[in-house]
Subunit: 172 residues, 2 copies
Amino acid sequence: MAPSSKTAPELAAFAAHDHAGCASSTLHRAQAVAQEKGARLTPVRLRALEILLEEHRAMGAYEVLERLAADGFGNQPPVAYRALEFLVETGLAHRVRRLNAFAACMHPGEDHAPVFLICRTCGAVAEAEAEGVRVALMAAAAAVDFTVERATVEALGLCPRCVEAEGAGGAA
Amino acid sequence: MAPSSKTAPELAAFAAHDHAGCASSTLHRAQAVAQEKGARLTPVRLRALEILLEEHRAMGAYEVLERLAADGFGNQPPVAYRALEFLVETGLAHRVRRLNAFAACMHPGEDHAPVFLICRTCGAVAEAEAEGVRVALMAAAAAVDFTVERATVEALGLCPRCVEAEGAGGAA
DNA sequence: AGCAGAAATGTGATAAGGTAACATATCCGT
DNA sequence: ACGGATATGTTACCTTATCACATTTCTGCT
């Protein structure tokens, strides 16, 4: 059997990089952030975050649950949802609504405006920095006296690799 | 009991206005847009759009389905999902992911960058114009060679009325 | 008009995503 | 050690969404 039970077509970032390294360094930063905030990064929560970081892609709650259960934690939906909700609240993970999925935050504690770029072909999800988007959104909201507390910005399209593949194979 | 079978706390725009008027004029524009595009605005589809326009708020697929069924159309989920999907594809309606809901587009055919402002207190949803957000998003995507095809931009927060209410009742 | 293919609809079944509610266990300040 | 707050485990259930397939309706073509 293959190492992962499900095929994992979704690479987190579009550029190749040292997964293990970036995962562990992000994990360390996440732990520091949690401690700073006084947030309790308990075993289930920590493990959930590790799973997201290891896979380095957007994962459904049930998918995370499966892994948690395999590690000896409860195997009921709330187990995963609670851990993930905590991570999102704490800013250690994000929810990708278009995919009904969750992904570890790559910049924990940085107070950023996460924007997700989702490739419709390979499913890869990248967390891009886009302060400008936040600024523009705030301006638009202010224009109608709306107070923004949280924002979801997600773009569906083609990642560099797939746009090339499509351009070559599709038209030509 | 109130005139509507379900409580409808969600006013579409934050400012009061002539619902019936804006609904019917939007509907006419939508029909024109559909014809122009060669999109078949069949009875179910048209009725689904009417329902969204009449209610003038974000509605769940099952909620729309209920109304469609009451009007003599099929009462199975695909009926609603297909009609709604068509409307979204054609740009006559939008999907509000945060609410797992759909809302009629208020500017059909205008090629706009819809941004949804969702009040977490009263549930009102407003479709705001935000060309600047689109521009910023495109720029951020271009920076990593990502090609954007569709974007979802949603902000959760407080509408003018609720921010006032909260400010008064909450703190003070 | 008659026909073939495409598009749309109706329907049943079921998958996937998400919560409510409640009991139990653990942590933390006193 | 005690008591409140926080976290976890578990049962049950609700909502949202999709698949598959039969049937109908539309469209362009001859």
